[in-house]
Symmetry: C2
Subunit: 221 residues, 2 copies
């Protein structure tokens, strides 16, 4: 398994799926997608555990989105959407990640048909947990991910609610761009996203069958 | 100066400016931007010279956009927009790059307010030239970049026509995301973009004061 330090230094691409949980699609008044769509975050946005707070850019409405993330272990190209075994074999480890989003910047970009890269790409906009060994998550479509702000639970749902499952995600991505060892894939956020401000403390966790297997905390500066 | 092989292996982020030449803004019926905007391409899209043809995905209207590219030589953070010296000092070398674009996919994304990452991010969608030493381009705002398809000249304009110059570009980017050694910045395309198909041969070149300093050719499969 990759080391946590290498996660940031060896990551060359972070691909994120949008609108992958039905209730989250509704809460943002978006259309439910007929096919998955993706966007890139830059590796420079990765915030390792203990590496400091999430920085809120001035004038930005800063939103959290907790997501199960995959650390890719080997090259993936043209994966078949039903190749579950191949998809799981391409995963080296898991992470909890928060897809921090400048929501007002994203809303403006959406209105104007402009790219999302800035809204999603500020430094520290991808805080991650310590690595989660594959053995800890026997089935990535059967885990609960949650996020609290100042100890108030905001998001908590099962990954079984994903609209497009991991093999389909890795298939769609890898038919466009080759996935490489060290790349990270964010699999979407459940309902309950919202804003955080200065001094707020986010905690994210992942449990399997009621047993907590990962937890991470990060403050907003 | 970095080596050409390391360009692909050590690149962790490719940032591209949109709509940075007035006549190109007009030809795509876009609005002239009040401030620069940017999008990411994945490093997996880089196509080194001699590494094979540009691949056209099925059903895609494939467009070329020739651009002057900067290879970043050191960390850049919060650069001042008028710090020309600092901007130039952060450049390790130049490249000619073609920002290949799935125009129909991009048009659809723009209409729906969706990200551009797929339209810009297919494998081979960033063919580049051999490295151009800094000494070859004394002033990056005073060079001519051109592109031909099957020996017909399609694009040819001076980089002095950039709406937002390189210091402003690096300032705006580095206030959002830290630029790192090995990152690549594409500075925008002049007018004349268009479609290429199977078997077409693109040639791109850069001249300074009438003297050709770089040329590169690539075929479309
Ligand atoms: Mg997200
Ligand atoms: Mg371009
Ligand atoms: Mg984008």
């Amino acid at each position: 398994m990759a080391s946590l330090q290498s996660i940031k230094s060896s990551c060359r691409k972070v691909m994120c799926i949008g609108r992958n949980y039905a209730d989250h699609v509704k809460e943002l008044n978006n259309q439910r997608p007929k096919q998955p769509f993706f966007f890139l975050k830059p590796p420079s946005a990765i915030l390792l555990p203990g590496a400091g707070p999430v920085l809120r850019p001035r004038g930005v409405s800063l939103h959290y989105e907790v997501e199960l993330a995959l650390v890719i272990g080997k090259q993936v190209k043209d994966l078949h959407p039903e190749d579950t075994e191949g998809a799981l074999a391409s995963i080296d480890a898991y992470l909890l990640a928060i897809d921090m989003t400048a929501r007002n910047v994203q809303d403006e970009a959406k209105k104007k048909g402009l790219p999302w890269s800035i809204a999603k790409g500020f430094d520290t906009f991808l805080p991650i947990s310590p690595l989660i060994a594959k053995s800890q998550i026997p089935d990535p479509h059967n885990a609960t991910i949650w996020l609290s702000v100042n100890n108030q639970l905001k998001q908590s749902d099962s990954t079984e609610l994903m609209l497009f499952r991991i093999p389909r995600q890795l298939s769609d991505i890898s038919r466009v761009m080759t996935l490489e060892a060290g790349d990270i894939v964010l699999t979407g956020t459940p309902k309950g996203v919202g804003q955080v401000g200065s001094g707020d403390v986010m905690r994210a966790g992942l449990s399997v069958g009621g047993r907590e297997v990962a937890e991470a905390g990060m403050e907003v500066e």
